[in-house]
């Protein structure tokens, strides 16, 4: 039962990253690809009706993690106290900047929210990257099942780690580049004109960074988290996950050249899915590795009692099927390129 929930939570996180990933990426490139008011409204309109639903995957995923692995939720969330709170503030700033921007047309109103939207999206991508890297690297859990990490210590991978060290920063940069690419491919698919062209160029440029850093981070990770190597040796079929990532990244390049905008975006989705599933596969059965392996939280010692997990499996399946239905309907309704009115005149 624990393993099933491990997979279900992993699926929810992956869907969250695919969906909110493109609107975070769109935010991160907002100021770069869109210069005029009409162009910026193009970018915003491409995520406007869906960003909130995308973020629900984070909330629903958090809730699912909570009831399936209470010890992980308690230990992990209180240990990552400061970065999580900062993430919450960034989510608040980002959500309000999308929703408030178009209510007033003024030279001081919308540029402010555009800036905030861009900066908060950028920082969120970085923090999410750091969070994932912390989980892979392991945290200073002790026998109590708790830990507390400051934002940084000495930037080394010792016993008392901070949220930021050289490894987690490297992964943060990769995360930012990946979401820039993912977001740029989304914006390209949804827009026309100069925004479309600038996004295509940005996606092509960031692709090289993604490629190089993916290779580097993968190599380093095998050294840092021994469980990863062990899992791939024990179950060689697990190589399908990294292969999916490789196919995805190759596909992005191929489709960028061939100029099929939809396929390029979906190739990027495949890359992200491949990367995340590789990490999850590499960590199993750990859910939160400790720097001292004795204290690691695993599927077995962090999961809730079986009765709750069984009941949960029933309603979760029903709920997610319904949600998939809504999402299909919403994305169809807002399918195609966005159209916005011309530049508005300032008063």
């Amino acid at each position: 039962m624990g393993t099933i929930w491990f997979c279900l939570v992993a699926i929810m996180i992956t869907v969250y990253v695919l969906l909110d990933g493109f609107d975070l990426g769109a935010g991160a490139i907002h100021l770069l690809v869109a210069k005029t008011d009409a162009e910026r409204r193009q970018v915003l309109a491409s995520v406007g009706p869906v960003w909130d639903g995308n973020e629900v995957w984070l909330i629903a995923g958090g809730g699912t993690l909570y009831f399936a692995f209470p010890a992980l939720y308690a230990g992990g969330f209180s240990g990552f106290y400061l970065p999580l709170m900062i993430v919450l503030w960034l989510l608040i700033l980002r959500g309000t900047s999308i929703e408030f921007r178009n209510h007033i047309i003024s030279r001081v109103w919308d540029p402010f929210w555009d800036f905030l939207f861009c900066v908060s999206s950028l920082l969120l991508a970085i923090f999410f990257g750091a969070a994932l890297a912390n989980v892979v690297r392991g945290v200073p859990l002790d026998a109590s099942g708790y830990f507390f990490e400051p934002l940084w210590t000495d930037f080394r991978l010792g016993e008392q780690t901070g949220i930021l060290d050289w490894y987690t920063i490297l992964v943060s940069v990769l995360a930012l580049l990946v979401l820039v690419m993912h977001g740029a491919l989304w914006v390209r698919m949804k827009t026309t004109g100069p925004v479309n062209k600038r996004s295509a160029k940005l996606a092509a440029n960031s692709w090289w960074g993604v490629l190089i850093l993916t290779a580097a981070v993968t190599a380093i990770t095998f050294g840092i988290q021994p469980q990863v190597k062990e899992n791939f040796i024990t179950w060689p079929w697990g190589f399908v996950f990294p292969l999916l990532a490789v196919a995805g990244i190759a596909g992005v390049r191929f489709e960028l050249v061939k100029r099929d905008e939809r396929k390029a975006f979906f190739a990027s989705c495949a890359y992200l899915t491949g990367m995340l599933t590789s990490v999850v596969f590499g960590l199993y059965p750990l859910v939160l590795p400790a720097r001292n392996p004795v204290y690691s939280l695993t599927v077995a010692n962090a999961k809730a009692a079986d009765y709750g997990l069984k009941v949960g499996a029933v309603w979760w399946t029903i709920g997610i099927l319904l949600a998939t239905g809504y999402f299909t309907y919403v994305y169809r309704s807002f399918g195609g390129k966005v159209v916005v009115a011309k530049d508005q005149t300032y008063h």
């Binding site: 309109a45 406007g48 009706p49 909130d52 639903g53 973020e55 629900v56 984070l58 909330i59 629903a60 958090g62 809730g63 699912t64 909570y66 009831f67 399936a68 209470p70 939720y73 308690a74 230990g75 969330f77 209180s78 240990g79 990552f80 106290y81 400061l82 999580l84 709170m85 919450l88 608040i92 959500g95 309000t96 929703e99 408030f100 209510h103 007033i104 109590s144 708790y146 507390f148 809730a304 009692a305 009765y307 709750g308 009941v311 949960g312 309603w315 979760w316 709920g319 319904l322 949600a323 809504y326 999402f327 309907y329 919403v330 309704s333 807002f334 399918g335 195609g336 966005v338 159209v339």
Partner: protein, 454 residues
Amino acid sequence: MEPALDVHRLHFAFTVTFHYIFPQLTMGLALLLVYLKTKALRTNNEHYNRAARFWGRIFGINFAVGVVTGIPLEFQFGTNWAAFSRAAGGVIGQTLAMEGVFSFFLESSFLGLFLFGEKKLGRIGHWWSAFLVWLGSWLSGYFIVATNAWMQYPTGHRVDSHGQIELASFWALLLNKWVLWQYAHTMLGAMQTGCFVMAAVGAFYLLTKRHESYGRTFVKGGVLVGAVAAILQLFPTGDAQGKLIADNQPVTLAAMEGLFETQRGAPLVILGQPDVQKRRLDNPLQIPSMLSFLTYQQWTANVRGLDAFPQDQWPDMIALLYYSYHVMVGLGTIFIAVMVLAALMLWLRKLYDSRVMLWALMLCVPLPYIANTAGWMTAELGRQPWLIYGLMRTAHGVSPRVGAGNAWFTLIGFMGLYTVLGILWLFLVYREIEDGPEPDDSLHSEPAIAVAAD
């Protein structure tokens, strides 16, 4: 008491209180939007569609702030209340996860369609989007209240040998006898906020002689629904909640009522200031024997006072609990008076011309917010010193590794951020009210923002 504990309590109290300003209006307005869309469908009058669009814009601003201030609450269970989450996550995580899976997906998907897809969906489709937004927001309320109800009256669980609290019966958790009354009471409170806000905006338009046709629609809708909600708030839902507390949290009842001594024919306190140290009520204004009658339907029934319980079982903020409860009940009584009187005048066709009554409706607008907040404070302070009633004390639920320094840091951050957010929200909502709905004689009426096309 450890200082860190106090900061964590204040942290949650502040963020949840600020958050609840927004969902109480969205849940109330969602119902009124369905009312307006139904009217539009049945009368075939575009007036109601424009009215719904106007309230949809206010709903959208309010919903956005509600969403972004709601996410921190779920996270705080893990960040600030880790020991509680670790012990009880298997139970309350169920309802919290169900909220995400069943209500938030529904609500967020169809709100996007409601706000941006009116042209595409057509008349019937747009009605459905309003209906599903209402359903999503009310389901969400149910799961949250079910979570709270379990903390007030834990049921359907079992404690294992390690002290872990496990789920033992899914339906006992979901259909807890406490949740049914608490949910009805909470939703009626949200309806009153929605109704008072709608009626107040209507009164404002009538008094300033602008958008008068809309003013009449808003006052009528707000008053009709609001009068029913105000009465049901007191009876049967408020009354039933009181009896549940008397039966299951008798010490809470004593503290709420300011009853220090056990007595037959206990009085109902209307006004007075509790002095917890001297264990008495100063300057009391009371109705003799009324509390005994309301609680047990007998004028001479024995009601246990605080003296009947050991002091370590008492709620730790008795005076604040007492005031919260009295503010809630006092305001609830005023709401019945105002709404019933307004409904009567509406029936006699005198309401739209009565400046006094319109002024009263307009000035009442902050009161339901205060009453809803006071109601939740009564529930939460009344549960103390327990986090899960009878199972886990609040002092034992806090995160062991998050010190006061870090908790203050984030609390101050939230205070600053929410101050700015609150000002912006007021400013934007006021602008929408100033701009008003599209005039009734306008030739095309289209949704204000059209973003997508095929």
